[in-house]
C-alpha cells in the first residue's frame, strides 16, 4: 500500500492534479434557467442542427470537449486521454463524440454520477503520472433519455411531483499535473462510492433512491479526511433534486450533523422551480454543466475556496425497472480547491 489511501475509501492525491480549463454547453431550458448566462454555449435548437436526438447529444459533447481544449490552447488531438460518459445504452454518445479525435478513450457509466467518476479517475491518472492532459466529460439529453427510459416525447402522460427533468447539457474539464501553475483549481481528494440500495422501486423518485448513496459517500469522505461540513464552502450533490436533498439532510441529521447550511444540489441549481421540472434536474449533464458553468469559475476566482462535488447516479436500466428490481445508486465525491494563478 502506498500512501495515497486514507481511512475507509478516500484517496488523497499526493500531487493534487489541476483543473486547467472547462466548458459547459446546454440546451434551451438550461439557457432559460438561473445559470443560463454562465454557460459557454447554449443551443436554442434541441436538435443542435443534427438529424437525431442522439446525434445532438454527440454534438453537445464534442463542442464541450473542443471548447475546453481550446481554452488550454490545445487541439483535442493533443489530449492524452478522454474519460467520457452519458446515459445512452452502450454509452454511444461518448463513443461517437470520441470517434475521430484520435485520443485514447475510456467510456464510463455511472448514470448521473458520471462527471464525478470521470473527474476522479482522471485525477488519479494524472497524480499517478499515467497521463498529463486528461479530458473528463459527461453529457445527457432530455430527448434521448426520455425515449430510452420513459415514453415518446409526444405521448400524453403525466409526470409525478417527485420526477426529475433530464438536463440537455454537457460539461468538460481538462486535468493537468500539479506543476501546472496556470491552472486555477486543484483536486485534492477523491472518494469512490459503494453501491447502496435501500429498496426504493419508484423510478419516478430517483432523488429518494440516490440520497442514501450520497449520504454514505459523504459520510465516508468527511470521516476519512477528519473534516466537517463547515470546512467546505459548499457540498454539492449531483442531482438529488428537492426530494433527495431533503432526505440527505435528514439522514445527516440522524447523526446530529447539519449539512443544510452548506449543501446544495446541482439539480436544484440548474433549473428554476417555475420551469416545470418538478423535483429538479438530473442526468449526467446536470452535474457536469453545473460544475463547469457555475462551480469551477467560483473556485477559480476565489469566491469559493474548497468544495465537495458528490455526483449521484441511479444504476437502473429500463429492463431492471420492468422486472421490478429496486434501484441501486452510487455516489462519487471529489474535493476541489481554489489554487494556482489564473
Amino acid at each position: 500500500m502506498n500512501g495515497k489511501r486514507m481511512g475507509m475509501a478516500t484517496i488523497r492525491l499526493e500531487r493534487p492534479p489541476r483543473v486547467r480549463a472547462w466548458a459547459a454547453v446546454g440546451g434551451k431550458k438550461e439557457k432559460d434557467g438561473p445559470l443560463g448566462a454562465e454557460f459557454d454555449q447554449v443551443f436554442s435548437d434541441t436538435m443542435c442542427g443534427e438529424k437525431t436526438w442522439e446525434k445532438a447529444e454527440v454534438h453537445l459533447q464534442k463542442v464541450a470537449v473542443g471548447m475546453a481544449a481550446n481554452k488550454c490552447k490545445l487541439p483535442v488531438s493533443a489530449l492524452d486521454m478522454i474519460l467520457a460518459g452519458d446515459l445512452l445504452g452502450q454509452c454511444v454518445a461518448s463513443s461517437y463524440a470520441a470517434r475521430g479525435t484520435q485520443v485514447p478513450y475510456l467510456g464510463l457509466y455511472g448514470a448521473c454520477s458520471t462527471m464525478a467518476e470521470s473527474l476522479a479517475i482522471g485525477a488519479c491518472m494524472v497524480d499517478g503520472g499515467f497521463a498529463q492532459r486528461v479530458c473528463a466529460v459527461a453529457s445527457s439529453h432530455f430527448c434521448t433519455a426520455e425515449r430510452q427510459y420513459r415514453f415518446p416525447l409526444a405521448y400524453g402522460g403525466q409526470r409525478t411531483p417527485t420526477a426529475q427533468w433530464t438536463a440537455t447539457a454537457a460539461g468538460a474539464c481538462i486535468l493537468t499535473p500539479a506543476a501546472d501553475d496556470c491552472a486555477p483549481v486543484r483536486i485534492t481528494h477523491v472518494c469512490f462510492g459503494k453501491v447502496c440500495d435501500l429498496g426504493i422501486t419508484d423510478a419516478n423518485n430517483m432523488g429518494a433512491a440516490m440520497a442514501p448513496a450520497a449520504y454514505d459517500t459523504l459520510r465516508t469522505l468527511l470521516s476519512d479526511t477528519g473534516t466537517q461540513p463547515k470546512d467546505y464552502d459548499g457540498i454539492f450533490t449531483g442531482d438529488l433534486g428537492q426530494v433527495g436533498s431533503r432526505l440527505l439532510c435528514e439522514l445527516f441529521s440522524l447523526d446530529h450533523i447539519d449539512i443544510s447550511t452548506v449543501h446544495d444540489d446541482c439539480g436544484k441549481l440548474l433549473f428554476d422551480s417555475k420551469q416545470d421540472v418538478h423535483a429538479g434536474g438530473s442526468g449526467c449533464g446536470c452535474a457536469a454543466s453545473v460544475l463547469c458553468a457555475h462551480l469551477l469559475p467560483r473556485l477559480a476566482d476565489g469566491r469559493m475556496k474548497r468544495i465537495i462535488l458528490a455526483a449521484t447516479g441511479a444504476l437502473i436500466s429500463p429492463t431492471s425497472v420492468q422486472q421490478g428490481e429496486s434501484i441501486p445508486a452510487v455516489c462519487h465525491a471529489v474535493v476541489l480547491e481554489s489554487g494556482g494563478k489564473r
Partner: protein
C-alpha cells in the same frame, strides 16, 4: 447512522409530495367530458349528413382518432394531457396518441424497425388484453346462449 429499508421508506413517504389528486380529477373530468361532448357533436354532424347510427358512430371514432393524431403530430396533445391526465388518456383520443407518438418518435430508426415496430409499444398491451377479454366474453355469451 444506518437506517433500515423500512425506516427509509417511511422517511421517503414523508418527504415526497403526493400528486395533487383533487386538481388532477377536476382536470380529468373537465377535459374528458369536453372530449366526449365533442364526440357527441361530431356524431350528430355525421348523422345529419345521412349516415345511419352505426356508420355515424364509426365515423365519429375515426374523426376523433384523426384529430388526436394531428394534435400529437403538432405536439399539442401532450401539452393538454400534462394537465388533463386520465381525461385525455381514457377516451379513444388517448389510444390514438399512444400509437401516433411512438410512430413519430422512432422514425429515426427507419420506417420498419422504427415507426412500424415501435408503433404499438404502448398500445400493444391494451390491444392484446382488450381483444383477449372480448374473446372470453364472446365465448361466455355463446355458452349462455344469449
Amino acid at each position: 447512522m444506518d437506517v433500515t429499508p423500512q425506516e427509509y421508506e417511511q422517511m421517503v413517504r414523508e418527504q415526497s409530495k403526493p400528486s395533487p389528486l383533487l386538481r388532477d380529477m377536476v382536470w380529468a373530468f373537465a377535459v374528458g367530458g369536453a372530449i366526449c361532448t365533442l364526440g357527441q357533436a361530431i356524431l350528430d354532424f355525421w348523422k345529419k349528413t345521412g349516415l345511419n347510427e352505426k356508420d355515424a358512430a364509426s365515423a365519429t371514432s375515426i374523426t376523433l382518432i384523426g384529430l388526436a393524431a394531428l394534435l400529437t403530430g403538432l405536439h399539442l396533445y401532450e401539452k393538454i394531457a400534462k394537465h388533463a391526465g386520465a381525461g385525455t388518456l381514457v377516451p379513444i383520443t388517448g389510444f390514438s396518441n399512444s400509437v401516433a407518438s411512438p410512430a413519430l418518435e422512432f422514425k429515426s430508426e427507419g420506417l420498419i424497425l422504427g415507426t412500424a415496430a415501435k408503433m404499438f409499444t404502448i398500445a400493444g398491451p391494451v390491444l392484446v388484453y382488450g381483444i383477449g377479454a372480448s374473446i372470453v366474453y364472446g365465448v361466455i355469451l355463446v355458452f349462455l346462449g344469449v
